[in-house]
Amino acid sequence: MKPLVQLYIQQFKTTLAMMFQYRASLVIWTIGQVLEPLVYLIVWSVVANSSGGSVGSYTTADFAAYFIVLMLVNQVTYTWIMYEFEYRVREGILSAALLKPVHPIHSDIADNISSKIITLPIMIAIAIIFAFAFHTSVAPAPWAILAFIPVLLLAFLIRFILEWTLAQAAFWTTRVSAINQSYFVAFLFLSGQIAPLTLLPHAVQILSLLLPFRWLINFPVELLLGRLTMVETLIGIGAQFGWLIVSIVLLRTVWRAGVKAYTAVGA
């Protein structure tokens, strides 16, 4: 275990050095992360105002709280591996990784966590400013705050492993952007990114219960907003554990098959 811890620490130093090299793109990236939820927030606030101050169980202030917390949850769980993997396969960078005596996912997880550690404080500051600007606040029960931390970590892990697995489509096809695009659309609607899931049609809600996306975004957000009962939270955590196991099994199977395909036709 210790060598892995060292690997994570060393990767943190490397990522830090790289991020200082890419300060400008870091700023652009942050703006993007902020802008998307901000747009939905404003749209839904306008809708709520025009329909008498609320939509479903969401008031204007509730929408603001929802999308501000969502911005943070998305920030913590976000990955960019699907863009990266295709490039690695195409440029042959993956070959170098395959020659290393460590599973390449570790460097990726470490890199992701490292850059989050650096960007998270900025996002929290932006979230606080937004909360003031939109006159909103959250007041969850102490148990919900306590539960939020493992729930967020599980959401990160599942999202990371799932997207890392999906990224391996690059082993089989050079046109992964179509796959990525379908995934992002599904994610957008079924995770609660575009609107709180309770406001979506019944069929979509049922579908969202069966798919992983909801447990990665909507569930942690609603938990912190204090909208879930303890039982609902426990069910959610159960679903997360289920998806964690599924995603790990998928990862192992797909990775093995992917490497086999890669090494069959030439790296």
Partner: protein, 333 residues
């Protein structure tokens, strides 16, 4: 002794009847052909490596020669576990490379002249540190290796500069260093000197010899620069169209494939017709280059000296590039 030789484990690298075939779909151009392709694609089997066998002893430096597409890189990739062989037997340090076991990967390295593992925007030092933890190199051993590599490759302050600010040669030195931090016992080098100037090529060559001597490492190297092979390798493997054409000492290759010698003579300020002495290959600044059958060399030299005002005379083996080119040309026929 012979029993030991039969044991593949006694070799650093053991290869028997190794093959790698690819199936590629061939597409013909044109609209009609495009529609035909939709229904039926013509599949063609490409034999990148076609039943090669060789053994390499621990500590040997072996050169791997062949034109582009001969199967050199495919073989290196199979030896490092990046490619699964179609058939044949393969072991490196007793491991089956395609299993990609951590214990195996910790003992080998592959340096590709056109690919790199250093992170572009940060100093090489940081990639070094990353490899230290990835290969679990103990701190003492890491420090001494960095010192040693810095000295041998004259790295100086290069490790502290962002990689993108290094020249091609400087970067290659750092690439080689980072690939050797874990003291691999088997080193695969694919075109390590490609694109480098002559001084830098020499520096890298010297280094490879030093590394081989200091650590008793086995080295398998491919290169387009014959000088690399001529200075580094006593033994060469020649591969063409996926088949092994020659395995033996470099001098043996010359002997086997050259039937001629080259005589370079300079005459005292006069032009003469030398065509009855041998085949004239070139004439430049009073210097003639003659191609003479090996068996005739002594006789022709004698005649030249006796009959012409010779200032200088030199008998040489044809350049190794030429020999190799001729070997491949013969194969084409």
């Amino acid at each position: 002794m012979s029993e030991e030789k039969d044991n593949p484990m006694a070799y650093a690298i053991h290869v028997r009847d190794l093959s790698k075939f690819y199936v590629v779909t061939q597409q013909e151009t044109g609209t009609k052909a495009a529609f035909q392709n939709l229904v039926h694609r013509r599949k063609v089997e490409v034999r990148a490596v076609d039943g090669i066998s060789f053994d390499i002893e621990p500590g040997e430096i072996v050169g791997f020669l062949g034109p582009n597409g001969a199967g050199k890189t495919t073989t290196l990739k199979m030896l490092t576990g990046l490619l699964h062989p179609t058939s044949g037997e393969l072991s490196v340090l007793g491991y089956v490379p395609s299993k990609r076991e951590a214990a195996f990967l910790r003992q080998i390295t592959l340096v590709m002249g056109q690919r790199n593992q250093l992170v572009w925007d940060i100093p090489a030092e940081l990639t070094f540190e990353l490899n230290r933890v990835i290969y679990r190199i103990p701190p003492d051993s890491y420090r001494s290796m960095v010192t040693e590599l810095t000295e041998l490759l004259d790295l100086g302050s290069l490790l502290k500069k962002p990689v993108r600010n290094l020249s091609l040669g400087e970067r290659m030195k750092c690439e080689i260093a980072v690939a050797l931090l874990h003291r691999p016992g088997v080193v695969f080098l694919d075109e390590p000197t490609i694109g480098l100037d002559v001084t830098m090529q020499q520096r890298i060559r010297t280094f490879i010899t030093q590394y081989n001597q200091r650590f008793g490492a086995t080295v398998l190297l491919t290169s387009h620069y014959m000088a690399d092979v001529a200075t580094l390798c006593k033994r060469v493997l020649v591969i063409h169209h996926g088949k092994l054409l020659f395995d033996g000492e470099l001098s043996g290759l010359l002997r086997q494939f050259t039937s001629h010698k080259t005589i370079i003579i300079q005459l005292d300020n006069c032009k003469a017709d030398l065509s009855n002495y041998g085949e004239i290959e070139s004439y430049e600044d009073g210097k003639y280059t003659l191609r003479v059958p090996k068996t005739e060399t002594a006789r022709v030299t004698e005649r030249l000296l006796a009959e012409l005002p010779v200032i200088d005379l030199l008998v040489e083996d044809p350049p190794i590039e030429e020999v190799i080119a001729r070997v491949f040309a013969q194969e084409e026929k």
